[in-house]
């Protein structure tokens, strides 16, 4: 190996590279929010008594967890405008793609959490006069939420990692900037290593926040 490392370039261009985190965060954060809300909704639908709601949930999950994110992203950003005449900015396209994919994963996580709640909980609530929807809202979902937090964190981390594919449609996040700088200075190793550290840092930070959230649970299952 006769490559000489020159991490000095990072001193000059590191801040520009790190600036990509801003875009990475503003692509992943809305996606995480939509992923979670959509995921809860889809999980609740999958447990509905109405076959139509269950059907929509199943089709959605099966479609979006099978579609590779790259295909989905390209389709939304380049194909959909041709079909509909309607186009989004790269960031919006990315958020949509990451959210659809993430929601399918989050739905499965929430469904696992919901199914783990004993049916006697719903029975007790129904006997007090709660409707099926209220049982979900006040009894099963809040319990399932905390049970699901660790796997939900995994889903969110997947969403953050998926941000790197938005390089394909030129969202100026870290990977895009690393590529840009590499082309300019021919220092792939330094810039891509820098990008790796930045993403690891972002994800560790996020996981730390989620672990704090887990500690907010004051109750224990019985």
């Amino acid at each position: 190996m006769n490559y000489t490392f020159q991490f000095g370039v990072l001193a000059d261009y590191g801040p520009y590279l790190a600036g990509g985190l801003w875009y990475a965060w503003w692509t992943s954060f809305p996606s995480i929010i939509f992923t979670t809300i959509l995921g809860v909704l889809l999980a609740a639908m999958s447990m509905s008594q109405r076959w139509l709601l269950r059907g929509v949930s199943v089709v959605f999950v099966d479609l979006f967890r099978t579609l590779p994110v790259v295909v989905l992203l390209i389709w939304i950003h380049y194909v959909m405008p041709i079909l509909t005449g309607f186009s989004f900015s790269p960031t919006v396209s990315s958020v949509i793609a990451l959210s659809l994919n993430g929601a399918a994963l989050a739905c499965e996580a929430f469904r696992g959490g919901l199914e783990a709640i004993p049916s006697t909980q719903a029975q007790a609530a129904q006997s007090l006069g709660f409707s099926r929807w209220q049982v979900m809202r006040y009894i099963t979902l809040p319990q399932a939420f905390f049970a699901t937090l660790p796997s939900l964190t995994n889903v969110h981390i997947t969403v953050i990692k998926n941000v790197t594919v938005t390089v394909l449609i030129a969202v100026p996040e870290v990977m895009f900037r690393a590529q840009e700088l590499t082309v300019q200075f021919f220092r792939p190793l330094e810039f891509y290593t820098g990008a790796a550290f930045l993403y690891v840092g972002l994800i560790w930070g996020y996981a730390l926040i989620m672990r704090t959230l887990e500690r907010l649970q004051k109750w224990q299952p019985i």
Binding site: T120, Q121, Q123, A124, A125, Q126, S127, L128, G129, F130, S131, Q134, Y138, I139, P142, Q143, F146, K218, W219, Q220, P221, I222
Partner: protein, 260 residues
């Protein structure tokens, strides 16, 4: 005089609160209830006993509309349970308190939240009203000092007393108890039975109690009944039922539970 023109409510004229007629219930191919007919009068305490799997819990769940029956009819306070619309079913459940063998408290809520969630979310009581009422009930079941505890911090007997308070908070006219003490250690049973006894005395509450506590049954129940294989084997005034059972099946069953 105007007084003799006071209308007499029809519901008051009918002394029967629960009317069960020829109820059949099956899970798939398994017949669990095979033609049950029971009348329970207002203010009456009916004790149900029977071997494990004979259908006691299933019967209580049917009365609460938590299960659908295959045939027959169940009416609570003149309201038909089978085929009830969601609204009617809710009314029936609001007038019925259900206490479970395993308490089924909501683990993510404190004692007081367990008790106030239904009155606030379903009856629309303000938080303050609901809290006041809950504190009164907690006093009544001897749990006032545990209002802010979570269920995992309570003993079995304490959990069951909270569960009873939770049911009472909806001001039901009827209580269903499904083996309220069988998951408890012997020392904790008495505290729960004591609470049930007081609920009956103070509210003259109509109750169906599934229990194998003979002492409790003799002192509180007006009638007792043995269920076996989804059928009523014997039915008699409580004292007579436990002291002079007629059926051989009942004698055998009572011998078995006394040897426990």
């Amino acid at each position: 005089m105007a007084t003799n023109l006071m209308p007499v409510a029809k519901a008051d004229a009918d002394p029967v609160l629960i009317r069960i007629r020829d109820v059949h219930k099956s899970y798939g191919a398994v017949n669990v209830l095979n033609g049950i007919s029971i009348d329970v009068a207002k203010g009456e305490v009916l004790v149900l006993c029977g071997p494990s799997g004979c259908g006691k819990s299933t019967l209580l769940r049917c009365i609460n509309g938590l299960e659908t029956i295959r045939s027959g009819s169940i009416a609570v306070d003149g309201r038909q349970v089978e085929g009830a619309t969601p609204d009617l079913l809710q009314q029936i459940r609001l007038s019925t308190g259900f206490v479970f063998q395993n308490f089924n408290l909501f683990p993510h809520m404190t004692t007081i939240e367990n008790i106030t969630i239904a009155p606030t979310k379903i009856k629309g009581l303000s938080k303050r009203e609901a809290n006041e009422e809950a504190r009164r009930l907690l006093e009544q079941v001897g749990m006032a000092d545990k209002a802010q505890s979570y269920p995992f911090e309570l003993s079995g007997g304490q959990r069951q007393r909270v569960a009873i308070a939770r049911a009472l908070a909806m001001k039901p006219s009827l209580m269903l108890f499904d083996e309220p003490t069988s998951a408890l250690d012997p020392e904790m049973r008495e505290e729960v039975l004591h609470v049930i006894r007081r609920v009956h005395q103070e509210h003259n509450m109509t109750m169906i109690v599934v229990t194998h506590e003979i002492g409790f049954a003799k002192s509180v129940a007006s009638r007792a009944m043995l269920l076996d294989k989804g059928q009523i084997v014997e039915e008699a005034p409580a004292r007579e039922f436990f002291e002079h059972p007629v059926e051989e099946r009942t004698r055998k069953f009572l011998r078995a539970i006394m040897n426990d």
